[in-house]
């Protein structure tokens, strides 16, 4: 039986313009495709990844124009469709002015005080 792994992402918007995605969300998605039982907890500034009000305009440098900018909301929704459970620390979202109604549907809120209990549902916790 495969191990259940909770992956914690704490920093949002890390290199997403260069990578055109978040590298840890990408890695977890790839691990799911490879047969792992993975879930994600977004905390800290990473909770802004699930704010549907976000927008990533295309970068330009000189004559170079980005044709495929990051679309984190799309990536999150694709992970939910794939069966990856996503959680977010709701206190961190509220502290950053992201109300519950703007959160991507299907991402489950947990209170800070509930995070240790969430850990107990998993065999491993990876803090990225």
């Amino acid at each position: 039986m495969v191990k259940k792994v909770l992956n914690i992402v704490s920093q949002g918007f890390r290199a997403i313009y260069e990578e055109q995605d978040d590298t840890i969300l990408w890695l977890v998605h790839a691990m799911k495709n490879a047969g792992s039982d993975v879930s994600i907890l977004l905390q800290g500034s990473a909770v802004t990844y699930i704010d549907t009000a976000q927008e990533c305009p295309k970068l330009t440098f000189g004559a170079w124009k980005q044709s495929n900018p990051p679309n984190i909301i799309h990536d999150i929704e694709a992970m939910i469709t794939k069966g990856i459970s996503l959680y977010y620390v709701e206190n961190d979202a509220l502290a950053r002015g992201v109300p519950a109604e703007r959160i991507v549907k299907g991402v489950k809120p947990v209170k800070t005080s509930e995070v240790p209990g969430l850990f107990h549902k998993f065999d491993l916790v990876h803090q990225w």
């Binding site: 997403i16 260069e18 495709n33 440098f61 004559a63 170079w64």
Partner: protein, 136 residues
């Protein structure tokens, strides 16, 4: 607006945080206004103009090489060199030689110079202002 000379000291490698993109956007803004820009790339930043960076497809997103059109910082740096020239300024980019040797990052795109802390001193002394965007 009178032409200025600005020096940027960069430390972060590409593809690992937002500081690289932010730094290059600031440099782009300066180049676009025709200012002269010096860059001293230290530590991992020497990989920004690394000539062997390659695009790749993205199997997770299901995009092929063309549709993914993955950004490469060597292309961004080359664009900034061209932009500076087009606007009547210059972009003088120096990679720290020891940092290059440690990392095997010898092959940089055309126009990148190998240098030392003495170049940073020269840059600072000849600039109107300087900005350090350091690793955190």
């Amino acid at each position: 607006m009178p032409k200025k000379t600005l020096t940027f000291a960069l430390m972060d490698p590409p593809f690992e945080n937002e500081r690289t993109t932010t730094a290059l956007r600031l440099i782009e803004a300066a180049c676009r206004k025709g200012h002269n820009v010096n860059v001293f790339a230290y530590e991992g930043a020497v990989f920004m103009p690394f000539a062997h960076q390659k695009q790749h497809a993205n199997s997770v997103k299901g995009t092929d090489l063309e549709n993914e059109n993955h950004p490469l910082t060597r292309i961004w740096v080359a664009e900034l060199q061209q932009l500076a020239a087009d606007k009547g300024g210059r972009l003088d980019w120096v990679n720290c030689g020891l940092c290059v040797d440690e990392r095997g990052a010898n092959d940089a795109i055309t126009g990148i110079r190998r240098g030392s802390p003495a170049d940073l001193v020269q840059f600072i002394e000849g600039s109107d202002n300087s900005l350090v965007i350091a690793t955190r």
